[in-house]
Amino acid sequence: MRIYMDYILEVRNLNVYYKSIGRSILSKPAKKQVLFDVSFDVRPGEILGIVGESGCGKSSLSKAILGMNKMYEGQIIHHSGKPQMIFQDPFSSLNPAWRIGRILEEPLILSGIRDKEERRKRVEDMLNKVGLDESYADRKPVALSGGQRQRVSIAAALIARPQLVIADEPLSALDVTIQSQIMDLMLELKRELGLTYLFVSHDIDVVYQMCDRIMVMKEGRIIELGDTLEMFANPKNEYTRSLIEG
Protein backbone atom coordinates (compact mmCIF):
# COMPACT_ATOMS: atom_id res chain seq x y z
CA MET A 1 0.00 0.00 0.00
CA ARG A 2 1.26 3.53 -0.63
CA ILE A 3 2.63 5.21 2.46
CA TYR A 4 2.36 8.85 1.34
CA MET A 5 -1.04 10.07 0.22
CA ASP A 6 -0.75 9.71 -3.53
CA TYR A 7 -4.51 9.52 -4.09
CA ILE A 8 -7.44 10.92 -2.12
CA LEU A 9 -9.80 8.38 -3.66
CA GLU A 10 -9.20 5.10 -5.47
CA VAL A 11 -11.93 3.29 -7.39
CA ARG A 12 -11.19 -0.24 -8.64
CA ASN A 13 -13.40 -2.36 -11.04
CA LEU A 14 -16.62 -0.86 -9.77
CA ASN A 15 -19.92 -2.47 -10.85
CA VAL A 16 -22.99 -0.68 -9.47
CA TYR A 17 -26.52 -2.15 -9.43
CA TYR A 18 -29.97 -0.68 -8.89
CA LYS A 19 -33.06 -2.45 -7.52
CA SER A 20 -35.73 -1.91 -10.20
CA ILE A 21 -39.00 -1.66 -8.26
CA GLY A 22 -40.02 -5.31 -7.86
CA ARG A 23 -43.55 -6.35 -8.99
CA SER A 24 -44.52 -6.72 -5.33
CA ILE A 25 -42.98 -7.61 -2.00
CA LEU A 26 -43.35 -11.26 -2.94
CA SER A 27 -41.20 -11.44 -6.10
CA LYS A 28 -37.39 -10.95 -5.77
CA PRO A 29 -36.55 -7.39 -6.93
CA ALA A 30 -34.68 -7.52 -10.28
CA LYS A 31 -31.15 -6.01 -10.16
CA LYS A 32 -30.25 -3.62 -13.00
CA GLN A 33 -26.54 -2.93 -13.58
CA VAL A 34 -25.73 0.74 -14.24
CA LEU A 35 -21.89 0.90 -13.95
CA PHE A 36 -19.51 -1.55 -15.64
CA ASP A 37 -15.93 -2.07 -14.34
CA VAL A 38 -15.18 1.61 -13.53
CA SER A 39 -11.65 2.28 -12.27
CA PHE A 40 -9.95 5.65 -11.67
CA ASP A 41 -8.03 7.62 -9.03
CA VAL A 42 -8.44 11.15 -7.74
CA ARG A 43 -5.35 13.19 -6.76
CA PRO A 44 -5.60 15.57 -3.80
CA GLY A 45 -6.22 19.22 -4.80
CA GLU A 46 -7.40 18.49 -8.37
CA ILE A 47 -10.80 19.01 -9.99
CA LEU A 48 -11.82 15.80 -11.81
CA GLY A 49 -14.72 16.38 -14.18
CA ILE A 50 -17.18 13.58 -14.91
CA VAL A 51 -19.14 14.38 -18.07
CA GLY A 52 -21.72 12.50 -20.12
CA GLU A 53 -25.30 12.73 -21.29
CA SER A 54 -28.11 12.05 -18.82
CA GLY A 55 -28.33 8.33 -18.05
CA CYS A 56 -24.62 7.61 -18.56
CA GLY A 57 -24.27 6.63 -14.86
CA LYS A 58 -22.40 9.66 -13.55
CA SER A 59 -24.91 10.26 -10.73
CA SER A 60 -24.91 6.56 -9.82
CA LEU A 61 -21.11 6.78 -9.54
CA SER A 62 -21.28 9.75 -7.15
CA LYS A 63 -23.99 8.01 -5.07
CA ALA A 64 -21.83 4.86 -4.78
CA ILE A 65 -18.74 6.88 -3.77
CA LEU A 66 -20.78 8.69 -1.09
CA GLY A 67 -22.09 5.39 0.25
CA MET A 68 -25.68 6.26 -0.63
CA ASN A 69 -26.01 3.10 -2.72
CA LYS A 70 -24.43 0.03 -1.15
CA MET A 71 -25.20 -2.39 -4.03
CA TYR A 72 -21.84 -2.52 -5.80
CA GLU A 73 -18.90 -4.83 -6.43
CA GLY A 74 -15.31 -3.68 -6.61
CA GLN A 75 -13.45 -1.27 -4.31
CA ILE A 76 -13.92 2.34 -3.29
CA ILE A 77 -11.00 3.41 -1.09
CA HIS A 78 -11.26 6.80 0.61
CA HIS A 79 -8.06 8.39 1.91
CA SER A 80 -9.83 11.41 3.36
CA GLY A 81 -12.47 12.21 5.95
CA LYS A 82 -16.17 12.08 5.20
CA PRO A 83 -16.77 13.38 1.61
CA GLN A 84 -19.54 15.96 1.27
CA MET A 85 -21.89 16.70 -1.63
CA ILE A 86 -23.19 19.79 -3.37
CA PHE A 87 -26.60 19.07 -4.88
CA GLN A 88 -28.18 20.16 -8.14
CA ASP A 89 -31.57 21.41 -6.95
CA PRO A 90 -31.07 24.37 -4.57
CA PHE A 91 -34.77 24.15 -3.60
CA SER A 92 -34.48 20.64 -2.19
CA SER A 93 -31.00 20.73 -0.66
CA LEU A 94 -31.89 23.04 2.26
CA ASN A 95 -34.26 22.11 5.10
CA PRO A 96 -37.27 24.41 4.50
CA ALA A 97 -38.26 24.40 8.21
CA TRP A 98 -34.88 25.61 9.48
CA ARG A 99 -33.19 29.03 9.44
CA ILE A 100 -29.98 29.30 7.40
CA GLY A 101 -27.94 29.71 10.64
CA ARG A 102 -29.30 26.44 12.03
CA ILE A 103 -28.64 24.63 8.70
CA LEU A 104 -24.99 25.68 8.78
CA GLU A 105 -24.66 24.88 12.50
CA GLU A 106 -25.79 21.24 12.06
CA PRO A 107 -22.58 19.96 10.41
CA LEU A 108 -20.55 21.60 13.20
CA ILE A 109 -22.70 19.97 15.90
CA LEU A 110 -22.36 16.61 14.16
CA SER A 111 -18.58 16.98 13.97
CA GLY A 112 -18.59 17.47 17.74
CA ILE A 113 -18.05 21.21 18.24
CA ARG A 114 -19.82 21.79 21.58
CA ASP A 115 -19.18 25.48 22.11
CA LYS A 116 -22.15 27.49 20.80
CA GLU A 117 -20.11 30.69 20.47
CA GLU A 118 -17.44 29.07 18.30
CA ARG A 119 -20.14 27.55 16.10
CA ARG A 120 -21.81 30.95 15.64
CA LYS A 121 -18.50 32.53 14.68
CA ARG A 122 -17.71 29.80 12.14
CA VAL A 123 -21.22 30.06 10.63
CA GLU A 124 -20.80 33.82 10.13
CA ASP A 125 -17.30 33.35 8.76
CA MET A 126 -18.55 30.71 6.28
CA LEU A 127 -21.46 32.92 5.18
CA ASN A 128 -18.99 35.71 4.35
CA LYS A 129 -16.75 33.22 2.51
CA VAL A 130 -19.66 32.31 0.19
CA GLY A 131 -20.47 36.00 -0.34
CA LEU A 132 -23.52 36.32 1.94
CA ASP A 133 -23.65 38.66 4.96
CA GLU A 134 -24.40 37.46 8.49
CA SER A 135 -28.02 38.69 8.44
CA TYR A 136 -28.89 35.72 6.16
CA ALA A 137 -28.45 33.44 9.21
CA ASP A 138 -31.92 34.40 10.50
CA ARG A 139 -33.71 33.89 7.18
CA LYS A 140 -35.46 30.78 5.95
CA PRO A 141 -34.53 29.13 2.62
CA VAL A 142 -37.89 30.13 1.09
CA ALA A 143 -36.81 33.82 1.31
CA LEU A 144 -33.67 33.21 -0.80
CA SER A 145 -33.12 33.11 -4.58
CA GLY A 146 -31.80 30.00 -6.36
CA GLY A 147 -28.26 31.39 -6.50
CA GLN A 148 -28.24 32.37 -2.81
CA ARG A 149 -29.54 28.95 -1.83
CA GLN A 150 -26.80 27.24 -3.81
CA ARG A 151 -24.24 29.42 -1.97
CA VAL A 152 -25.74 28.27 1.36
CA SER A 153 -25.66 24.59 0.35
CA ILE A 154 -22.01 25.00 -0.67
CA ALA A 155 -21.34 26.61 2.72
CA ALA A 156 -23.11 23.71 4.45
CA ALA A 157 -21.01 21.17 2.55
CA LEU A 158 -17.68 22.92 3.28
CA ILE A 159 -18.16 24.25 6.84
CA ALA A 160 -17.06 20.98 8.45
CA ARG A 161 -13.77 21.14 6.43
CA PRO A 162 -14.17 18.05 4.19
CA GLN A 163 -11.27 17.24 1.86
CA LEU A 164 -13.23 15.60 -1.00
CA VAL A 165 -16.37 17.34 -2.30
CA ILE A 166 -18.62 15.81 -4.96
CA ALA A 167 -20.63 18.43 -6.90
CA ASP A 168 -23.46 16.74 -8.80
CA GLU A 169 -24.62 19.18 -11.55
CA PRO A 170 -24.31 22.17 -9.18
CA LEU A 171 -25.01 24.76 -11.91
CA SER A 172 -27.66 23.36 -14.23
CA ALA A 173 -30.62 24.61 -12.15
CA LEU A 174 -29.30 28.22 -12.15
CA ASP A 175 -29.51 31.17 -14.57
CA VAL A 176 -26.53 31.70 -16.84
CA THR A 177 -25.18 34.82 -15.12
CA ILE A 178 -25.43 33.18 -11.69
CA GLN A 179 -23.76 30.01 -12.97
CA SER A 180 -20.51 31.87 -13.67
CA GLN A 181 -20.59 33.50 -10.20
CA ILE A 182 -20.99 30.10 -8.52
CA MET A 183 -18.17 28.70 -10.65
CA ASP A 184 -15.86 31.49 -9.48
CA LEU A 185 -16.96 30.89 -5.88
CA MET A 186 -16.21 27.16 -6.08
CA LEU A 187 -12.78 27.82 -7.59
CA GLU A 188 -11.94 30.38 -4.92
CA LEU A 189 -13.06 28.11 -2.07
CA LYS A 190 -11.08 25.22 -3.52
CA ARG A 191 -7.90 27.27 -3.46
CA GLU A 192 -8.57 28.73 -0.02
CA LEU A 193 -9.57 25.46 1.72
CA GLY A 194 -7.35 23.10 -0.34
CA LEU A 195 -10.30 21.03 -1.53
CA THR A 196 -10.60 18.28 -4.15
CA TYR A 197 -13.68 18.37 -6.38
CA LEU A 198 -15.42 15.60 -8.25
CA PHE A 199 -17.40 17.81 -10.68
CA VAL A 200 -20.32 15.97 -12.34
CA SER A 201 -22.00 17.72 -15.28
CA HIS A 202 -23.62 17.16 -18.69
CA ASP A 203 -22.35 20.56 -19.97
CA ILE A 204 -19.00 20.13 -21.74
CA ASP A 205 -18.22 23.89 -21.75
CA VAL A 206 -18.58 24.18 -17.96
CA VAL A 207 -16.47 21.07 -17.40
CA TYR A 208 -13.82 22.43 -19.78
CA GLN A 209 -13.28 25.58 -17.73
CA MET A 210 -13.55 24.06 -14.26
CA CYS A 211 -11.67 20.80 -14.44
CA ASP A 212 -7.98 19.81 -14.57
CA ARG A 213 -8.83 16.31 -15.80
CA ILE A 214 -11.98 15.02 -17.44
CA MET A 215 -13.57 11.56 -17.38
CA VAL A 216 -16.08 11.01 -20.23
CA MET A 217 -18.77 8.41 -19.50
CA LYS A 218 -21.26 6.67 -21.74
CA GLU A 219 -23.75 3.92 -20.82
CA GLY A 220 -22.02 3.22 -17.49
CA ARG A 221 -18.46 2.95 -18.85
CA ILE A 222 -15.47 5.28 -18.84
CA ILE A 223 -14.67 5.83 -22.50
CA GLU A 224 -11.93 8.43 -22.05
CA LEU A 225 -9.98 9.91 -19.14
CA GLY A 226 -7.26 12.51 -19.42
CA ASP A 227 -5.98 16.05 -19.07
CA THR A 228 -8.56 18.65 -20.14
CA LEU A 229 -6.37 20.59 -22.60
CA GLU A 230 -4.93 17.43 -24.25
CA MET A 231 -8.38 15.89 -24.57
CA PHE A 232 -9.81 19.03 -26.17
CA ALA A 233 -6.77 19.32 -28.46
CA ASN A 234 -7.15 15.78 -29.86
CA PRO A 235 -9.96 13.71 -28.45
CA LYS A 236 -9.11 9.99 -28.94
CA ASN A 237 -12.67 8.69 -28.79
CA GLU A 238 -15.31 9.46 -31.46
CA TYR A 239 -18.03 10.11 -28.85
CA THR A 240 -15.80 12.58 -26.98
CA ARG A 241 -15.18 14.48 -30.21
CA SER A 242 -18.95 14.76 -30.87
CA LEU A 243 -19.42 16.06 -27.30
CA ILE A 244 -16.68 18.66 -27.70
CA GLU A 245 -17.83 19.89 -31.14
CA GLY A 246 -21.40 19.79 -29.72
Binding site: L187, E188, Q209
Partner: protein
Protein backbone atom coordinates in the same frame (compact mmCIF):
# COMPACT_ATOMS: atom_id res chain seq x y z
CA UNK B 1 -46.91 42.60 -38.93
CA UNK B 2 -47.38 41.91 -35.23
CA UNK B 3 -46.68 45.14 -33.33
CA UNK B 4 -46.41 45.41 -29.52
CA UNK B 5 -46.30 49.06 -28.49
CA UNK B 6 -45.63 50.41 -24.93
CA UNK B 7 -47.13 47.25 -23.35
CA UNK B 8 -47.38 47.74 -19.57
CA UNK B 9 -48.87 45.06 -17.27
CA UNK B 10 -49.32 45.33 -13.51
CA UNK B 11 -49.96 42.68 -10.83
CA UNK B 12 -51.53 44.71 -8.01
CA UNK B 13 -48.88 47.40 -7.52
CA UNK B 14 -45.92 45.49 -9.08
CA UNK B 15 -45.16 46.46 -12.70
CA UNK B 16 -44.42 43.16 -14.45
CA UNK B 17 -44.06 44.67 -17.94
CA UNK B 18 -43.02 48.29 -18.40
CA UNK B 19 -43.36 49.93 -21.86
CA UNK B 20 -42.42 46.83 -23.93
CA UNK B 21 -42.28 47.62 -27.67
CA UNK B 22 -41.47 44.88 -30.19
CA UNK B 23 -42.35 44.08 -33.77
CA UNK B 24 -42.40 40.66 -35.44
CA UNK B 25 -42.69 40.00 -39.16
CA UNK B 26 -43.97 37.00 -41.06
CA UNK B 27 -41.22 34.61 -42.17
CA UNK B 28 -38.73 36.12 -39.70
CA UNK B 29 -37.55 34.95 -36.24
CA UNK B 30 -37.69 37.49 -33.40
CA UNK B 31 -35.63 36.14 -30.46
CA UNK B 32 -36.54 37.37 -26.95
CA UNK B 33 -33.86 36.60 -24.36
CA UNK B 34 -33.76 37.33 -20.64
CA UNK B 35 -33.36 35.66 -17.28
CA UNK B 36 -36.25 34.13 -15.38
CA UNK B 37 -38.53 36.87 -14.13
CA UNK B 38 -37.57 39.28 -16.92
CA UNK B 39 -41.15 39.23 -18.31
CA UNK B 40 -40.46 37.43 -21.59
CA UNK B 41 -43.16 34.80 -21.01
CA UNK B 42 -45.52 37.50 -19.72
CA UNK B 43 -45.17 39.35 -23.04
CA UNK B 44 -46.17 36.22 -24.99
CA UNK B 45 -49.14 35.54 -22.70
CA UNK B 46 -50.24 39.19 -23.12
CA UNK B 47 -50.20 38.80 -26.91
CA UNK B 48 -52.33 35.64 -26.60
CA UNK B 49 -54.65 37.36 -24.09
CA UNK B 50 -53.93 34.55 -21.60
CA UNK B 51 -52.79 36.71 -18.68
CA UNK B 52 -54.13 35.60 -15.31
CA UNK B 53 -57.32 37.44 -14.22
CA UNK B 54 -55.58 39.55 -11.55
CA UNK B 55 -53.12 40.98 -14.11
CA UNK B 56 -54.05 44.48 -15.37
CA UNK B 57 -53.00 45.77 -18.84
CA UNK B 58 -52.34 49.49 -18.34
CA UNK B 59 -53.68 52.32 -20.53
CA UNK B 60 -51.69 53.15 -23.62
CA UNK B 61 -50.59 49.53 -24.16
CA UNK B 62 -51.30 48.25 -27.65
CA UNK B 63 -50.86 44.92 -29.43
CA UNK B 64 -51.78 45.08 -33.13
CA UNK B 65 -52.02 42.17 -35.54
CA UNK B 66 -51.90 43.53 -39.11
CA UNK B 67 -53.41 46.79 -37.85
CA UNK B 68 -56.15 45.19 -35.75
CA UNK B 69 -55.94 46.05 -32.03
CA UNK B 70 -56.09 42.93 -29.79
CA UNK B 71 -56.21 44.60 -26.36
CA UNK B 72 -59.82 45.01 -25.28
CA UNK B 73 -61.18 42.53 -27.85
CA UNK B 74 -64.10 40.51 -26.44
CA UNK B 75 -63.15 37.00 -25.30
CA UNK B 76 -65.06 35.39 -28.18
CA UNK B 77 -63.10 37.28 -30.85
CA UNK B 78 -59.79 36.62 -29.07
CA UNK B 79 -60.57 32.91 -28.93
CA UNK B 80 -61.14 32.95 -32.71
CA UNK B 81 -57.65 34.42 -33.21
CA UNK B 82 -55.88 32.04 -30.83
CA UNK B 83 -54.57 29.05 -32.74
CA UNK B 84 -55.78 30.44 -36.06
CA UNK B 85 -53.83 33.69 -36.49
CA UNK B 86 -51.44 33.47 -33.51
CA UNK B 87 -50.47 30.15 -31.91
CA UNK B 88 -48.24 29.35 -28.91
CA UNK B 89 -46.17 26.41 -27.73
CA UNK B 90 -44.82 25.99 -24.20
CA UNK B 91 -41.78 24.85 -22.27
CA UNK B 92 -42.99 21.77 -20.41
CA UNK B 93 -43.82 19.04 -22.96
CA UNK B 94 -44.56 16.68 -20.04
CA UNK B 95 -47.61 18.62 -18.82
CA UNK B 96 -48.72 20.69 -21.83
CA UNK B 97 -50.91 17.95 -23.33
CA UNK B 98 -54.16 16.67 -21.82
CA UNK B 99 -53.01 13.43 -20.11
CA UNK B 100 -56.31 11.58 -20.59
CA UNK B 101 -57.03 12.48 -24.21
CA UNK B 102 -55.52 10.73 -27.23
CA UNK B 103 -53.01 12.72 -29.30
CA UNK B 104 -55.14 12.50 -32.47
CA UNK B 105 -58.19 13.99 -30.77
CA UNK B 106 -56.22 16.86 -29.28
CA UNK B 107 -54.98 17.78 -32.75
CA UNK B 108 -58.44 17.42 -34.25
CA UNK B 109 -59.74 19.89 -31.68
CA UNK B 110 -57.48 22.61 -33.10
CA UNK B 111 -59.10 22.10 -36.52
CA UNK B 112 -62.60 21.78 -35.13
CA UNK B 113 -62.22 25.12 -33.31
CA UNK B 114 -61.22 27.01 -36.45
CA UNK B 115 -62.14 24.86 -39.47
CA UNK B 116 -65.31 26.42 -40.98
CA UNK B 117 -66.49 23.27 -42.73
CA UNK B 118 -65.28 19.83 -41.76
CA UNK B 119 -66.43 17.59 -44.65
CA UNK B 120 -65.91 14.27 -42.93
CA UNK B 121 -64.22 12.42 -40.09
CA UNK B 122 -61.68 10.91 -42.50
CA UNK B 123 -60.76 14.42 -43.83
CA UNK B 124 -60.06 15.43 -40.24
CA UNK B 125 -57.95 12.31 -39.57
CA UNK B 126 -56.04 12.76 -42.79
CA UNK B 127 -55.32 16.46 -41.98
CA UNK B 128 -53.97 15.42 -38.57
CA UNK B 129 -51.84 12.72 -40.18
CA UNK B 130 -50.42 15.35 -42.51
CA UNK B 131 -49.53 17.61 -39.58
CA UNK B 132 -47.89 14.74 -37.68
CA UNK B 133 -45.84 13.77 -40.74
CA UNK B 134 -44.76 17.40 -41.23
CA UNK B 135 -43.54 17.42 -37.62
CA UNK B 136 -41.46 14.31 -38.45
CA UNK B 137 -43.17 12.09 -35.90
CA UNK B 138 -42.29 8.41 -36.56
CA UNK B 139 -45.30 6.18 -37.56
CA UNK B 140 -48.02 8.85 -37.34
CA UNK B 141 -50.79 6.19 -37.63
CA UNK B 142 -49.61 4.65 -34.36
CA UNK B 143 -49.17 8.03 -32.63
CA UNK B 144 -52.78 8.99 -33.45
CA UNK B 145 -54.33 6.77 -30.81
CA UNK B 146 -51.55 7.06 -28.21
CA UNK B 147 -51.78 9.00 -24.94
CA UNK B 148 -49.24 11.76 -24.10
CA UNK B 149 -47.50 9.75 -21.38
CA UNK B 150 -46.58 7.10 -23.98
CA UNK B 151 -44.42 9.60 -25.90
CA UNK B 152 -40.93 10.96 -25.14
CA UNK B 153 -40.38 14.66 -24.30
CA UNK B 154 -39.06 15.40 -27.78
CA UNK B 155 -41.99 13.68 -29.52
CA UNK B 156 -44.48 15.50 -27.33
CA UNK B 157 -42.91 18.82 -28.26
CA UNK B 158 -43.27 17.85 -31.93
CA UNK B 159 -46.97 17.12 -31.31
CA UNK B 160 -47.26 20.57 -29.68
CA UNK B 161 -45.67 22.18 -32.74
CA UNK B 162 -47.97 20.21 -35.07
CA UNK B 163 -50.96 21.35 -32.96
CA UNK B 164 -49.84 24.97 -33.02
CA UNK B 165 -49.23 25.11 -36.75
CA UNK B 166 -52.06 22.89 -38.05
CA UNK B 167 -54.31 25.88 -38.76
CA UNK B 168 -51.40 27.69 -40.46
CA UNK B 169 -51.34 30.73 -38.09
CA UNK B 170 -49.40 33.83 -39.19
CA UNK B 171 -47.34 33.90 -36.00
CA UNK B 172 -46.03 31.16 -33.64
CA UNK B 173 -44.99 32.15 -30.11
CA UNK B 174 -42.45 29.63 -28.72
CA UNK B 175 -41.90 29.93 -24.93
CA UNK B 176 -38.55 28.15 -24.25
CA UNK B 177 -39.73 25.05 -26.21
CA UNK B 178 -36.36 23.26 -25.92
CA UNK B 179 -35.26 24.09 -22.36
CA UNK B 180 -36.63 20.83 -20.95
CA UNK B 181 -35.06 18.74 -23.75
CA UNK B 182 -31.51 17.36 -24.09
CA UNK B 183 -29.09 18.76 -26.63
CA UNK B 184 -29.70 16.42 -29.59
CA UNK B 185 -33.53 16.65 -29.42
CA UNK B 186 -33.19 20.42 -29.05
CA UNK B 187 -31.40 20.66 -32.38
CA UNK B 188 -34.17 18.63 -34.07
CA UNK B 189 -36.90 20.92 -32.70
CA UNK B 190 -35.07 24.08 -33.80
CA UNK B 191 -34.66 22.67 -37.33
CA UNK B 192 -38.39 21.80 -37.41
CA UNK B 193 -39.39 25.32 -36.34
CA UNK B 194 -37.08 26.80 -38.97
CA UNK B 195 -38.51 24.57 -41.70
CA UNK B 196 -42.09 25.54 -40.79
CA UNK B 197 -41.07 29.21 -40.82
CA UNK B 198 -39.71 29.03 -44.36
CA UNK B 199 -42.38 26.66 -45.79
CA UNK B 200 -45.39 28.62 -44.47
CA UNK B 201 -43.79 32.08 -44.19
CA UNK B 202 -44.71 32.00 -40.48
CA UNK B 203 -43.47 34.69 -38.04
CA UNK B 204 -41.64 33.05 -35.13
CA UNK B 205 -41.26 34.72 -31.71
CA UNK B 206 -38.70 32.54 -29.93
CA UNK B 207 -38.33 33.09 -26.17
CA UNK B 208 -35.30 31.67 -24.37
CA UNK B 209 -32.92 32.31 -21.46
CA UNK B 210 -30.00 30.78 -23.45
CA UNK B 211 -28.55 33.50 -25.69
CA UNK B 212 -26.21 31.15 -27.58
CA UNK B 213 -29.26 29.31 -29.03
CA UNK B 214 -30.26 32.45 -30.96
CA UNK B 215 -26.86 32.96 -32.60
CA UNK B 216 -27.53 30.94 -35.79
CA UNK B 217 -31.29 30.97 -35.52
CA UNK B 218 -32.83 34.41 -34.97
CA UNK B 219 -33.02 37.39 -37.35
CA UNK B 220 -33.73 39.99 -34.66
CA UNK B 221 -33.02 39.75 -30.92
CA UNK B 222 -34.62 41.67 -28.04
CA UNK B 223 -32.96 41.57 -24.62
CA UNK B 224 -35.34 41.86 -21.66
CA UNK B 225 -34.60 42.50 -18.01
CA UNK B 226 -37.03 43.14 -15.14
CA UNK B 227 -40.00 43.81 -17.45
CA UNK B 228 -38.20 46.21 -19.81
CA UNK B 229 -36.73 45.75 -23.28
CA UNK B 230 -33.11 46.71 -22.51
CA UNK B 231 -31.90 46.48 -26.11
CA UNK B 232 -33.08 45.15 -29.47
CA UNK B 233 -31.53 44.89 -32.91
CA UNK B 234 -30.33 42.50 -35.59
CA UNK B 235 -28.63 39.33 -34.34
CA UNK B 236 -25.22 40.49 -35.66
CA UNK B 237 -25.52 43.87 -33.96
CA UNK B 238 -26.48 42.30 -30.61
CA UNK B 239 -23.74 39.66 -30.61
CA UNK B 240 -20.91 41.73 -32.09
CA UNK B 241 -21.63 45.29 -30.90
CA UNK B 242 -23.87 45.19 -27.83
CA UNK B 243 -24.70 48.70 -26.59
CA UNK B 244 -26.13 48.03 -23.15
CA UNK B 245 -24.00 46.89 -20.21
CA UNK B 246 -26.58 44.16 -19.31
CA UNK B 247 -26.39 42.69 -22.83
CA UNK B 248 -22.61 42.65 -22.65
CA UNK B 249 -22.75 40.80 -19.32
CA UNK B 250 -25.24 38.29 -20.78
CA UNK B 251 -22.92 37.59 -23.69
CA UNK B 252 -19.94 37.38 -21.35
CA UNK B 253 -21.68 34.74 -19.30
CA UNK B 254 -21.99 32.42 -22.29
CA UNK B 255 -19.40 29.90 -21.20
CA UNK B 256 -16.73 31.18 -23.51
CA UNK B 257 -14.00 28.67 -22.98
CA UNK B 258 -10.94 30.76 -23.38
CA UNK B 259 -12.18 33.60 -21.14
CA UNK B 260 -12.98 31.40 -18.16
CA UNK B 261 -9.76 29.43 -18.62
CA UNK B 262 -7.73 32.58 -18.08
CA UNK B 263 -9.68 33.48 -14.93
CA UNK B 264 -8.90 30.02 -13.52
CA UNK B 265 -5.27 30.15 -14.56
CA UNK B 266 -4.90 33.72 -13.20
CA UNK B 267 -6.30 32.60 -9.87
CA UNK B 268 -3.88 29.65 -9.70
CA UNK B 269 -0.77 31.90 -9.52
CA UNK B 270 -2.17 33.88 -6.58
Amino acid sequence: MLEIDNLTVEFGTKKVLDGVSLTAEKGKVLGIVGESGSGKTMTALAVMGLLSPDARVAEGSSIQLDGKELIGLPEKKLAAIRGNDIAMIFQEPMTSLNPTMRIGRQLEEALRLHGQKIPSKSWLREKVMEALKEACLPEPEKQYDRYPHELSGGMRQRVMIAMGTICRPDYLLCDEPTTALDVTTEKGILELINRIRTEHNMGIIFITHDLKLLRGFADKVAVMCKGKVVEQGSVEQIFNAPVEEYTRRLIASIPDRQHRRNVKAAGAEK
